[in-house]
């Protein structure tokens, strides 16, 4: 039985797409997962992988043509099938849509009701209107074993498919005729404002809630961060720093040393130098006193997969980048194999969190006590900037956000520190000062 192939939302926000190229020709046989065409969406050009099987019988929307989500773009079925009815329906719906200036609401083309013309089709098609009074019940949870098997093969979520069998049982024909767009939006939890074209989202059931007991690491993380955020009055300072000099410095160093020194080691070193110049930032709040720490112990937030941990390089102020880096490598290896000891991750006097590798531009971090400040690093990004002559140039910029505990570090102090850090990173020679 021939079926319509509808434009689907290839990005979460896509409402309309343009067919850049058909990868299949009329007459080609199509299997589930085959790329039918390339579609330009609001975000990018994406490959449309078929969820249907059969022979591509007709292309409704040619290359270069646009289609709203839910519009018929092609027809798939068995070779030699009479699809004139479907074709006419799809084309008239398309021209009607083109003619209409207002977004149509009521007169949507009927999605999947293939004419059972030749009487040769295997299972007699039972027509069922999607909006009829006796609409099939959904979510009865019952399905035939075969229906479950086919749904799995097609990658469909059986719980999203309305069942037409006894008691709402989902049976073979329900799965075979199911097209995600035919399902009501309400089932998918997609908000549809009236008058708007139907928003399409891939059918996904609201699964059952999963309870994860809070214990161990997660309990510690929750307690410590909540304590910090709720007791330490945070404020945030942000600036951008040009990374080109640091990158050059790193390249110079890496030419001379056997193993490459990591970017984070350089940042630690620069932070330590800035802290040496502003020891007020390397301090902690202890209720009746503020302690300026004698050692610069910098923690680096490391993802554990199921939590995070902050291994600490001690006394960074008195170490060079090569040593900092080798210690960092040992610590991170210990994080990886779970052998990090408590004294290797407790009592950082300052912390760094770097989410640049995830493409995060900037963010604010929660202070990691007993330290009173944490530096949040975004990605290094090529950005146009004005140089001192007012000329535009490309620079590698990184955004830094410093979270400070106002009880310990006042705004001016935080600003001075961050300014010093920026200068040092932009001109690493300053560590010699």
């Amino acid at each position: 039985m021939a079926e319509n192939v509808q434009m689907i939302a290839l990005s979460p926000t896509m409402e309309e797409g343009t067919i850049l190229k058909w990868s299949m020709q009329v007459g080609d046989s199509v299997s589930t997962g085959d790329v039918l065409c390339e579609v330009e969406t609001d975000k990018a050009s994406m490959e449309y992988e078929s969820a249907q099987e059969g022979v591509l019988l007709s292309i409704i929307v040619p290359e270069g043509g646009g289609a709203k989500v839910g519009d018929v773009i092609a027809i798939i079925g068995e070779s030699g099938e009479d699809i004139s009815g479907l074709e006419a329906e799809a084309k008239s719906a398309k021209s009607a849509a083109l003619a209409a200036t207002a977004p149509e609401t009521a007169d949507k083309p009927v999605a999947v009701e293939a004419p059972n013309s030749q009487g040769a089709s295997s299972t007699p098609a039972t027509t069922r209107s999607s909006g009829g009074g006796s609409s099939p019940t959904s979510g009865s949870g019952k399905s035939s074993p075969l229906a479950r098997k086919i749904a799995e093969e097609k990658g469909l979520d059986i719980s999203q498919i309305p069942g037409s069998g006894p008691g709402g049982r989902v049976v073979k024909r329900d799965v075979e005729t199911f097209s995600p767009t035919a399902s009501t939006a309400g089932n998918q939890g997609v908000a549809v404002s009236s008058g708007a074209p139907m928003t399409f989202a891939p059918a996904r059931t609201a699964g059952e809630d999963v309870e994860i007991p809070v214990a161990g690491k997660r309990a510690v993380i929750a307690k410590r961060l909540a304590e910090s955020k709720f007791s330490a009055p945070h404020y945030y300072l942000k600036n951008s720093v040009e990374m080109d000099s640091l990158v050059a410095a790193r390249n110079m160093v890496n030419k001379e040393v056997p193993s490459k020194v990591s970017f984070n080691a350089f940042i630690m070193k620069m932070v330590a130098e800035a802290l040496k110049r502003y020891p007020q930032v390397n301090a902690g709040w202890f209720g009746d006193k503020i302690v300026q720490f004698g050692s610069i112990d910098i923690g680096l937030a490391v993802d554990l997969g199921n939590g995070l941990i902050t291994p600490i390089v001690r006394n960074v102020g008195n170490k060079g980048v090569v040593q900092i880096d080798s210690e960092l490598k040992v610590l991170i290896e210990k994080v990886g194999n779970g052998s990090l000891k408590p004294d290797e991750y407790t009592a950082a006097t300052f912390s760094i969190s770097n989410l640049g590798s995830f493409g995060v531009e900037e963010f604010t971090a929660i202070i990691n006590p007993p330290g009173s400040a944490i530096l949040a690093l975004g990605e290094v990004k090529k950005t146009p900037v004005f140089d001192e002559n007012g000329e535009l140039k490309a620079a590698n910029l990184m955004k830094m956000t410093l979270s400070c505990d106002h009880r310990v570090i006042d705004g001016a102090m935080g600003g001075k520190f961050l300014s010093e850090l920026k200068k040092t990173i932009e001109n690493p020679v300053r560590v010699l000062f």
Partner: protein, 326 residues
């Protein structure tokens, strides 16, 4: 090919085998002088004489036991039970001797015999003479059980049954003796352990054996008129069951209706429905439907007699049910 009746086909099979092998002989009530209660042995007495076509007293246990003894001694008896209703008397000989001797003698003895005759409901025969006992025999290890549905199958299977070295229960039906069908002139044998697809289809598999096969074929025609393509599997062999053919068909159509004219409980049909449910679980789009006789002694009243048995209408309804077309 000649168009002959089921009765004639069985007669030809016995005639050919008796001509081929003088160890083959027929015994039973009225098989000789009267040419058989249903005329299946017509002409055999004249052709082969009273030593090979033997009228027996009305004593099923005795003459069935006699046949078991003759078979173990090297002959190939064909026992005709006038009906399987009377054959109940001989169950001990079949179950405890015919089915067990090869096993219990460690293969030293074999029991090459056939027990044949009409089984299952006919018409106007009331409770005691209108019963299907297929499961009584299909239940017993050591027996082979076949139930043909056409003259062609009947002839080829009976010849194979006579040549088989094991006791073979050969289930005929009174209502089938007049069925006509094409049978080739040249000799042929059919395997005792293979089911046969009597009609190919794609939407639902109707599985049955013996007399109801015709009913299933009629139901398939009625379904075709309603746009449903039904496949009809004729089991033929009830022991051993040709499960492969059944499963292949069900896996193709995804729906199964089993028809058995016996009572439903512990029947060949109920076992088959279980096997399909168990082995084709992931391929089923609906629970297996099972049509059997109603669970009552056969009524004499003809309307009720028909009502308790499987029918074309019941099969069509069941097929539509597994297709969710009701």
């Amino acid at each position: 090919m000649a168009l002959i009746t089921f009765r004639e086909a069985l007669n030809q099979a016995m005639d050919e085998e008796m001509a081929r092998d003088d160890k083959v002989f027929l015994l039973g009530e009225e098989v000789a002088e009267y040419n058989g209660a249903y005329k299946v042995s017509k002409g055999l007495l004249d052709k082969y004489g009273p030593h090979r076509v033997v009228d027996t007293p009305i004593a099923e246990l005795g003459f069935t036991g006699l046949a078991v003894g003759a078979a173990t001694a090297g002959l190939r008896p064909i026992v005709e039970w006038m009906t399987f209703n009377f054959g109940l008397l001989a169950l001990d000989q079949l179950v405890n001797n015919a089915a067990k001797l090869r096993h219990m003698s460690g293969g030293q003895l074999s029991v090459p015999m056939v027990v044949r005759g009409p089984n299952g409901p006919a018409e106007y025969l009331s409770s005691q003479h209108s019963q299907s006992f297929a499961s009584y025999f299909a239940h017993i290890p050591g027996l082979k059980v076949v139930a043909p549905s056409t003259p062609y199958d009947g002839k080829g299977l009976l010849k194979s049954a006579i040549r088989d070295n094991n006791p073979v229960i050969f289930l005929e039906a009174e209502m089938m003796y007049g069925f006509q069908g094409e049978v080739p002139a040249e000799e042929y044998l059919l395997p005792l352990d293979k089911a046969d697809i009597k009609r190919e289809g794609t939407d639902v598999t109707l599985i049955t054996f013996g007399k109801p096969v015709q009913m299933a074929l009629e139901a398939a025609k009625a379904l075709e008129a309603q746009g449903v393509s039904a496949e009809v599997v004729d089991l033929i062999s009830l022991r051993p069951l040709d499960e492969v053919t059944v499963y292949q068909s069900v896996r193709k159509t995804n729906r199964a209706v089993v028809i058995d004219e016996a009572w439903p409980i512990a029947s060949v049909g109920s076992h088959l429905a279980f096997l399909i449910s168990s082995n084709c679980f992931d391929d089923l789009d609906a629970p297996v439907e099972f049509i059997a006789s109603e669970d009552v002694p056969m009524p004499y009243n003809h309307t009720l007699e028909l009502a308790v048995q499987p029918s074309v209408e019941k099969i069509v309804t069941a097929a539509k049910k597994v297709l969710y077309l009701n």
